[in-house]
Assembly symmetry: C2
Homo-oligomer: 193 residues x 2
DNA sequence: TTCTCCATGTAAGTAGTTACATGATTGG
DNA sequence: CCAATCATGTAACTACTTACATGGAGAA
């Protein structure tokens, strides 16, 4: 027991989990994240490649050089030790923080500093962002459904969670808007017709 | 025009905005954030105090020593330049990223690696977290209502957004649960009665 | 007197991003 | 031949957290 699973950080588990789901190279991991996880976790190549090395040194993945023509590439696969480590992490009853660090909500919080017209513009910008996010997430839903058909149901669930809470944000914003518009009606904003 | 507003980062605007809302010391800013913004933006004293200094050097806040007995304390107030800078930031039509970096959703994404029983436990843990968050947010709603009565409506709006999307998460999780429970019924989990 | 809260600040460390460097392959 | 994509990696920087240091004031 060398406790090879110690000292892994969240991004390492992300990499490990993506390899488990079939991403074989650092590049494929990056692409898969862009197509799925990126709405609630991002990762950059500068994290992925060192992470793959750490995982390999710990025996959680195995990589072998796999030339595509003369182009270098390493093909990774998860080991049984890797499976066990991933499961242990998923089962660990650690406290799960929830942090948004969202620039939009930060701005909105301070919107009382603006006049009604500018505040409305900010609110609308945040609504637009959520609408666009919903659309983007729905666009990748077919891919998630395909993944589900192959036995992985949770990527679809997390996608639906993303859609659901942007919809919830939209609803609350829309409920709030009339208050604003009513009060600013006297200002005769020009582009409402 | 020395362009004193250049080079401010988001945490600086948070500090500036909090001073505008009446937080007078670094300590009060920290406390106010804990009671309101913390669910979508956090900040530590190690950021607050240097930030206050930067803001003062730029003329966006003024601080004067205000002894409470012999206890040291600096009382800050926003300047008109500070008001203008805050408003300019709020009006700036920059792209607004939305990043969650949520450990719970990261784990859930990979939950297919678990057996049904453990996956259900993880799902329940995430549900519990959202329930607790809703309760915590509702607990500070009276404070936000008081703030609204004093003329700041947006802290309440952002609070309601927080509540709304945790409720949305709960709803999606609850819809998903039966799928899991049905499939794992044959496993005879022991502690369900 | 001791505990908790008020209050300010720094040093060291961790985590993450951006920008860059390199080079092969494919398709127009 | 040029652009886009595939593919791997590093250096430098920025951002943020944790842990610590300091000390007054009020309450038990």
């Amino acid at each position: 027991m060398t406790d090879s699973s110690a000292g892994l950080a969240s991004p390492d588990y992300l990499v490990l989990g993506m390899v488990r789901l079939g991403a074989r190279s650092g590049y494929e991991i990056k692409r898969m994240v862009e197509l799925s996880l990126r709405f609630f976790w991002t990762i950059s190549p500068a994290q992925i490649y060192p992470s793959l090395e750490r995982l390999e040194r710990s025996g959680l993945v195995v990589g072998r050089p796999e030339a595509l023509g003369r182009r270098r590439r390493r093909a990774f696969a998860i080991t049984s030790a890797g499976e066990a480590t991933l499961q242990a992490w998923l089962r660990k009853p650690e406290p799960i923080p929830f942090e948004l660090r969202d620039l939009g909500l930060l701005k909105l919080f301070f919107a009382d500093a603006l006049d009604k017209r500018d505040a409305l513009a900010l609110l609308r910008a945040i609504e637009r962002r959520s609408r666009e996010r919903v659309a983007a997430l729905q666009a990748i839903e077919p891919a998630a459904l395909a993944t589900e058909a192959q036995g992985a149901a949770y990527p679809l669930l997390t996608l639906q969670l993303g859609i659901a809470f942007h919809r919830a944000m939209l609803e609350v914003c829309r409920e709030f808007e009339p208050k604003l518009s009513a009060e600013s009606a006297g200002l005769r904003t020009d582009a409402t017709g």
